[in-house]
Amino acid sequence: MPTTYPMPIQEAVRDMLGDLVGRGIAVDKTSPLELEDDTVGAVSDLITDDGNLAVVLVADLALVAALGASLTMVPAVIVQESVRKNRFEEEALVENYGEIVNIISRLFNSASTPHLRYHTTYLLPGEVPPEVSKLRENHAARRTFAVTVEGYGDGKLELSVG
């Protein structure tokens, strides 16, 4: 079985996020996400049923907060405060974002590749397992999207396939 996982196109990401949060979503290709030591955001990984790392997703604070808040209709002011203070103002933002990654993991599954599922979300700045960082560095394919969540703001989402 081949192990080159499908890389979702922007329309697929837009449609799935829109269905999930029930509001307007815009997705466009954008410049790479530059991670500094003090960048606040989230790194998530998808693994095979055998536990092998396959996909790494990185989102900046603004997008984690916007998507996380929109899932359960947390007031937009919490997102704005999070961006202003450069920290997550509510734990639910990150918890909800993890569920969003869990659901969009479907976009990386195909009939011809091993089944993938959501594993974990690591907060930045913070410790990320070396193999996760390594896959991000040595990806087979990568796309970075600018994602706008109607009423909540926008941020970057980077998808790296191993």
Binding site: M16, D19, L20, G22, L71, T72, A92, E95, N96, G98, E99, N102, I103, S105, R106, N109, A111, H115, R117, Y118
Partner: protein
């Protein structure tokens, strides 16, 4: 009608409950929640007696399919549906074979939810 909603995501349990309240014909719904298959199994074995179980597939401690198999092994035949990010045909088949009535893939719209659940009223 009493419905047991099983999902390790609090957000998703909330979304499922919100959608349930919009299904025509369901009337008064009482929901009980569990964050894992193990917790849900304990509830049922403890006498919770829901009329319908809606469960995620991938959960820590005990997955949804393990929960369903444990229920059926206990002889519990409460109608059971998966609400999950898993939508691959082989997993759907696995779920149905174990005794699930349906598998609703996340994300779902309120209409998707209504359509599949209205048929169970």
């Amino acid at each position: 009608m009493k419905i047991l909603v099983v999902d390790d995501s609090k957000a998703m349990r909330m979304i499922v409950k919100r959608n349930l309240s919009q299904v025509p014909g369901f009337g008064d719904i009482e929901t009980i929640e569990a964050a894992s298959g193990a917790e849900a199994l304990e509830l049922v074995r403890g006498g919770a007696a829901p009329d319908l179980i809606l469960s995620d597939w991938n959960m820590p401690e005990m997955t949804g399919i393990e929960f369903l198999r444990a229920l059926r092994a206990d002889g519990v035949l409460i109608p059971f549906g998966f609400v999950t990010s898993e939508s691959q045909p082989e997993m759907r088949a696995q779920g149905i074979e174990a005794g699930a009535a349906f598998l609703l893939a996340k994300p779902f719209t309120p209409d998707d939810f209504s359509e599949i659940l209205s048929s169970m009223v």
